[in-house]
Assembly symmetry: C2
Homo-oligomer: 301 residues x 2
DNA sequence: CTCTAGTGTTCGATATACTGAACAATAGGC
DNA sequence: GCCTATTGTTCAGTATATCGAACACTAGAG
């Protein structure tokens, strides 16, 4: 749990926690129990961050929240990565054109982080709010690994039962389908909403690895009713999530756009939205000097 | 130099450095010498931040820059402090109306941090760029202390010669003038540009306390040609910086807006711009539920 | 190709930050 | 106003991160 620089790790654990729960402020004690850090140690960390302006302390309520220096750092980070500003404009366009919510996310290790959203959140999914971190485990985050190396795919599989070859084969087929289409299409299901509820709990106590693995296992349980392998144009679907990747100069996925909504839509409507999204991310890829990795078989549509 | 949580402090020293120098990326060794941190220690810190997505590592050039997680944290911080979004709109308005650059800054300890700007930077002053940190020492940052307690003012005086009563009296008179006007008006001078050049050096090596104190002493030397105590409406001035405060609910200065430009302007033009700025910050103060502290002289009860 | 300049990693010895519980100081409830 | 619950600070012992130098490793120049 503790890396080679524990103080730094915990300092940013605080930041991550406050980012995911930006609506309220927290006292030292609250953060101590939520993050599993000794009060004495955390006190020193919080004082350091407050001195630097990265946290703001409300001396009235003795609470901490993210401070102004974090805004400056965020602006500098955004200025350094033009992708996100380019994508923001396109996301607004997509959200307006499809009447869907459009969120942007990045992969960080074995998680994905929601960075931005556009349009009205018709679905109140916890994992769709900016600042949220969602485990990057099957079948979540297909677009982040579909064009990746075998090693990346294996890491994505994670703790899947090694002996369950059929599950692996199924997922590989799904990823192949994602490459062909240029985007991933997933269906809304009750499982998905169950995951959403669990993530709320996980947000409240990120250090609880038992909750974390529970979420991961349930996310894997989504598989059955989650994938849309072949859409029937005239059929009706409950709703859909469509995700497409933006590639960087080295061919890696540096950003992903997800359309969520399309409630009670026909297969044709879903496929049309998917095409629109995929062409938009391709446009963004070109705008930022990105490169789509060549698939082994077939051509990206 | 090292506080009770050195790893956390240094981790954010890296962030601060990358924020101030967002244009390029830096290698481990560069950061090591620039920040005065042991390479071995820094390596652990950078790895931790990179794992969290707060830094992005270019494996090609082995360089580090601010990562996507920092953007999410910045957005969360901005969402938590509505002041900055309210102010941004007004800053754009002011910049357009006065043909000046308008920057927003906050006070963090004994420094002020530039957060946002609007309009074209007619003056290429280093200290006016977002992400920059400028020492909060006389005569800089008058608006941050003019309404503050005596303790805050004394701290602002800093290492001024205690025996030099005339300097203190002069500064107190300046602050009184700022309170009366509702804003601070300062004039461009060669000294100012000299400070700007020194700040570039300081940015390159923030750990050098000798440079830091040198900057502070030169800033104090500005005093003579910096203050505009009484403007002559028909006189011409080389240029001006006008700063006004935004107050929080507790009466403290939570944000400051500075208009820079007004090259070769008359005293009347400068005073008009000052009035416009002061009324705007007052409006923002009210929008965010702020309160202007009552002046200490002539208080009832 | 060889050489150089620079980068990042390894390693044991030392100093230092972390821990945990008891303490003190605040805020909230009636 | 008093009491209670919770907050945040203090302190010494122990575990641990940090330091500095020597080591690999890459990239680029001649």
């Amino acid at each position: 749990m503790s890396g080679p620089a524990p103080a730094a790790e915990r300092a940013f654990a605080v930041v991550t926690y406050l980012t995911a729960n930006a609506r309220r402020s927290f006292t030292l004690s609250e953060l101590s129990v939520a993050l599993g850090i000794n009060k004495a140690s955390l006190s020193a960390i919080l004082a350091t961050l407050t001195d630097g302006g990265y946290l703001a302390r409300n001396s009235q309520h003795r609470t901490y929240s993210l401070g102004p220096a974090m805004i400056a750092a965020g602006l500098a980070a955004a200025a350094h990565n033009p992708v996100f500003e380019v994508a923001r404009v396109e996301m607004e366009r997509l959200a307006a054109a499809t009447a869907c919510q459009c969120v942007g996310s990045v992969a960080i290790g074995q998680e994905m982080l929601i960075l931005a959203n556009a349009g009205e959140p018709t679905l109140r999914l916890q994992q769709m709010a900016p600042g949220q971190r969602v485990p990057l485990t099957p079948p979540y985050g297909e677009v982040f690994v579909a064009w990746g190396s075998d090693d990346e795919v294996d890491e994505w599989f994670g703790h899947l039962d090694k002996t369950d070859a059929s599950a692996h084969d199924h997922l590989r087929a799904v990823l192949e389908r994602v490459r062909q289409r240029g985007c991933a299409i997933n269906l809304l299901s009750d499982h998905l909403f169950a995951v959403s509820r669990l993530l709320v709990e996980l947000d409240a106590a990120p250090h609880r690895s038992d909750l974390r693995s529970k979420v991961s296992s349930i996310i894997r349980g989504l598989e059955d009713d989650y994938e849309l392998l072949d859409a029937q144009p005239q059929d009706n679907y409950r709703g859909a999530l469509i995700a497409a990747p933006v590639f960087g100069p080295d061919g890696s996925v540096i950003y992903a756009l997800t359309l969520s909504g399309l409630l009670n839509a026909t297969g044709r409507q879903i496929l049309d939205a998917a095409d629109m999204l995929a062409s938009t991310t391709l446009y963004i890829t070109q705008q930022v000097g990105g490169r789509v990795p060549l698939p082994e078989t077939g051509v990206v549509g």
